[in-house]
């Protein structure tokens, strides 16, 4: 009986619905074009997940904790440009440069947290301001040009692959998903994040410190965004003043698709991962079937709306069940 109810729960879970939708999408594209599930294409899909995924891990934690960082793309761009400058212009060894840009990203995250938690600015506005500022600084220091990186050791971060399928950027992203998934679901800190995101006031009244949690999450988001930008720079062999910008929206989309609530307090890393997989598989499929780009944009919007509608009915069904149970 218990087994049946567990199976029922699994079937009704958001994660399962999302995985099913992803499987259907993959199947459709596979039927249209058999090379869709070729090793090279799967590798391409996984590769395309790495940037948004790395940023998305930090973003999902932040969203669950009740915040949002619209500067994450600019932070990633800044990370990519800085790692290129440190390696190519300052002659820093790449591991040093990589650590340095993660710290720089963390510092930017701390600045975001200062604006939001100390000066009490709204997260949306504050991070948009920081994003604009960072983009300006990036253009000033690069003179709006790409910074080439010739350190082949650094390139290897972007090119090493296991079984010619799992590239290092993807594996780093996957490792982050697992680690942060465990932190969120199995640790006291993780539960605190959910509590602060779900009801900040209640969390404060129960003795938690939401501002401290929020600060940690913003720092974390900045550091991961910067790491994502640095990894992209390794893949592309250059730091570009236009790279990564806008990736925060992909990260947010993937998180929302994966069940993370924009209001905070709900969601998990597994959902984010599948949401991102769905998004990237979908985008890759649309390109491979030669859909006109304007229709691609429409299709992306439809996918997101479909996920939201599914979520809406899911929530409504649960509410009915709870009501029935209460009666």
């Amino acid at each position: 009986m218990e087994n049946m109810s567990a199976a029922k729960r699994l079937l009704r879970s958001k994660l399962f619905s999302l995985a099913a939708v992803t499987a259907v999408v993959v199947l459709i594209f596979y039927l249209i074009r058999r090379s869709y599930l070729g090793v090279d294409n799967i590798r391409g899909i996984l590769n395309s997940m790495s940037l948004s995924g790395t940023i998305g891990v930090g973003m999902a934690c932040l969203l669950i904790g009740g915040g949002v960082d619209l500067a994450a793309g600019a932070e990633g761009c800044f990370g990519g440009v800085m790692v290129a400058l440190l390696i190519s212009k300052a002659g820093a060894p790449w591991p040093v440069a990589l650590v340095a840009v993660i710290l720089i990203g963390a510092a930017i995250g701390a600045f975001n947290a200062f604006l939001i938690n100390v000066l009490n600015f709204m997260g949306f506005i504050a991070t948009i301001g920081v994003s604009s500022m960072l983009q300006g600084i990036i253009n000033i220091i690069t003179k709006a040009r790409n910074i080439s990186i010739s350190d082949r050791g650094f390139w290897s971060i972007g090119t090493v692959a296991v079984a010619n399928l799992f590239t290092l950027p993807f594996m780093i992203m996957a490792a982050l998903v697992v680690v942060y998934g465990i932190i969120l679901s199995r640790t006291r800190f993780g539960r605190t994040v959910y509590m602060c995101g779900g009801n900040r006031r209640a969390a404060r009244l129960s003795g938690l410190n939401p501002k401290k949690i929020s600060t940690i999450l913003y720092i974390n988001c900045g550091a991961l965004a910067s790491l994502g930008g640095a990894i992209l720079a390794a893949r592309m062999h250059s730091g570009s003043p236009k790279a990564v910008l806008g990736s925060e929206l992909d990260a947010i989309t993937a998180a929302v698709l994966g069940g993370v609530s924009f209001m905070g307090g709900a969601g998990n890393m597994g959902g984010c991962f599948i949401g991102l997989l769905l998004l990237c598989s979908f985008n890759n499929g649309l390109i491979s079937v030669k859909l006109a780009s304007y229709w691609t944009i429409v299709a992306q919007g439809v996918l997101l709306i479909a996920a939201l509608i599914a979520d809406y009915f899911n929530v409504r069904a649960r509410a009915r069940e709870l009501k029935a149970a209460g009666a």
Partner: protein, 410 residues
């Protein structure tokens, strides 16, 4: 609450999706940014203008930037009769309606020209507020400015020209030629012939692929042109490239041409990577690939994708713009990104800087500048920016040419 938000968000997404879908790539083209500083200008008129042949082996010969042989030197730096330093420096301002990277790069080049033709340079960005743009023009006029480099919104180009005329101050458009509501030029201007440039890109690949692959059957070659359809110039670049491919190899066009509109992925290296990677892996039956791009970032992304898929020996990439590629070549890069259509910002801005000085000097009226570039029915000239295709073997010649062009005239 959540339910309401979900419904609201869905409605907003629907509206944004519809508005995206309703966009017409041919409408209201914003100034485009060619990666790393390659400006693209307005849609070209019919052919026939002086332009650069795609001869990578003789880059200097491919740049008709020296007007002395056939054309007017008034408003060009080649006019040796002018002593630029016999007067006080002019005060010129570059007024932009929404500063983009390309404006910054061209602004740097214009500032450099100020040192050679004696003007003080400053910049103003109206932040997409055309009212502020126009009122600030008046403010600059009252402050005694002598000339305006301008990039207004295309919808108020005519009003901008009229205001400048009322103020009695010469103007010169930088990135996009200024036209009236009938499409006629209302000032002299510059442009890249995007369709012709696209044709040159394709022609170079067709002319040179045997040097890399030997005697390969054209039927085995796929052609992917990467562009973004939000801008008419970029679309024209693709059209020129596509049509040349179709014209040259009509039998293989239907099967082997791939339209690479990266609009949905954005303008970035990663967009080029993801698009190229998807197309390559979706078409494993295509043995060889030409990849050409309207932006350098797309070309760079395509190069990384080819490397990632270990296809370097089966791919030839030619980008529009080489500001990243040149440093890569200098660093020893020798991969499948083999060529680029390029022009230096110094070359692009020279007629603009010298033209405005000539107008401010009173040495020429706007309609007098560069008569050899006037199209039938037009009152003003539309100077065609010289371009050249460079390779690892020829880029140094081109850099030397640019250096000679600038420093030799100092």
């Amino acid at each position: 609450m959540k339910r309401s938000l979900a419904v609201l968000l869905s409605a907003l997404l629907c509206m944004s999706a519809v508005s995206c879908a309703g966009g017409n790539p041919g409408e209201s083209p914003p100034p485009s940014v060619s990666s790393g500083g390659s400006p693209t200008a307005e849609a070209p008129p019919s052919g026939g203008e002086p332009s650069a042949p795609p001869d990578a082996s003789t880059p200097a010969a491919a740049t008709p930037a020296e007007p002395t042989a056939t054309g007017s030197v008034v408003g060009r730096y080649a006019d040796k009769s002018v002593d630029y330093f016999s007067r006080e420096p002019y005060e010129f301002v570059y007024m932009v309606n929404g500063m983009l990277v390309i404006h910054q790069l061209l602004g740097e080049a214009l500032a450099d020209w100020g040192g050679r033709v004696n003007y003080n340079y400053s910049e103003y960005d109206s932040g997409s507020d055309m009212n502020a743009f126009l009122t600030t023009m008046e403010t600059y006029a009252t402050q005694g400015y002598d000339g305006f480099f301008v990039d207004p919104d295309v919808t108020v180009a005519q009003r901008t020209a009229e205001l400048a005329e009322d103020l009695g101050i010469p103007i010169f458009p930088v990135l996009v030629p200024m036209r009236d509501n009938d499409g006629k030029l209302i000032t002299p201007g510059l442009h890249l012939d995007s369709i012709m440039v696209g044709g040159l890109q394709t022609q170079w690949l067709i002319d040179n692929y045997t040097n890399y692959w030997g005697d390969v059957d054209p039927a085995e070659i796929g052609y992917l042109f990467l562009y973004a359809s939000f801008n008419k110039n970029l679309v024209d670049n693709m059209v020129g490239a596509r049509d040349k491919f179709q014209e040259t190899w009509p039998d293989t066009f239907e099967k082997n041409y791939y339209d690479g509109d990266c609009l949905a992925l954005g303008v970035s290296i990663e967009a080029g990577f993801d698009y190229t990677s998807s197309i390559f892996t979706a078409n494993p039956d295509v043995k060889y690939w030409f990849v050409s791009s309207c932006l350098e970032d797309y070309g760079q992304g395509a190069a990384r994708a080819a490397e990632d898929l270990n296809m370097e020996d089966r791919v030839l990439i030619l980008s529009n713009g080489a500001n990243t590629l040149i440093p890569d070549w200098q660093g020893g890069y020798d991969g499948c990104w083999v060529a680029a259509l390029h022009y230096a910002n110094e070359i692009f801005t020279e007629p603009i800087a010298c033209g405005l000085v000539a107008l401010a000097d009173g040495r020429a009226k706007p309609e007098d500048l560069w008569p050899e570039y006037k199209q039938p029915g037009e009152k003003y000239a539309l100077y065609v920016v010289p371009t050249v295709i460079i390779t690892k073997d020829t880029y140094q010649d081109y850099l030397q040419y640019v250096e000679d062009f600038v420093s030799g005239l100092d």
